[in-house]
Symmetry: C2
């Protein structure tokens, strides 16, 4: 259902600051009110793709717990991409709204 919106969602999750993959999943779940509970198999390939595209930069860290984590942070390009995607989303949502909002009209009058 989020086909085409995933990049935007992941980028949006990084607006608050850098995070690692596993944390991003939880972040998205929390901030979406539980609506988006994305599996790892969705997130990790996406992060790799976004980094390859220059939207994200990553580096390895070791948490206090001793675990190794790959922390991602948005690049300036990523911020621009997010901005573009947001505009696209607005148009998309408005279009859906238009389909719902406009009611009552005569059936198909092709020749006007």
């Amino acid at each position: 259902m989020l086909k085409g919106h995933l990049d935007m969602i992941v980028l949006a999750a990084l607006v608050g600051g850098p995070a690692h993959g596993y944390g991003i999943i939880q972040q998205i779940k929390r901030r979406s009110g539980g609506a988006f509970d994305l599996p790892e198999g969705t997130i990790y390939p996406t992060l790799h793709r976004l980094e390859k595209a220059g939207y994200l930069a990553s580096h390895w860290t070791t948490a206090e717990s001793g675990r190794k984590r790959r922390v991602y942070k948005m690049t300036r390009r990523g911020e621009r991409a997010l901005s573009d995607h947001r505009a696209l989303w607005q148009r998309f949502a408005d279009a859906i709204g238009g389909l719902f909002g406009e009611k009552a009209r005569a059936p198909a009058r092709t020749h006007s």
Copy 2:
């Protein structure tokens, strides 16, 4: 990008009254402000699927122009499905809004 939303879009286009495939395409284009210009290869299979699912009913007519048209109209089941899809869309749009930080939310036009 409209993966998973297409059924809803087509059903919504028929709220104003019955229409034929070609007209539905134009209807959607107009009411979406030009955002959704769906190819025939997308619409026709969808209409067939929706009819098979019992959401639409169709019959052949001959327009004043002399052309043959297959006119679709929503069934009660279709109306219920549309209603469900709309609720789903609301949750989806709200979830995206939540990720954006409440600022950019999809316009929720609660048309009665």
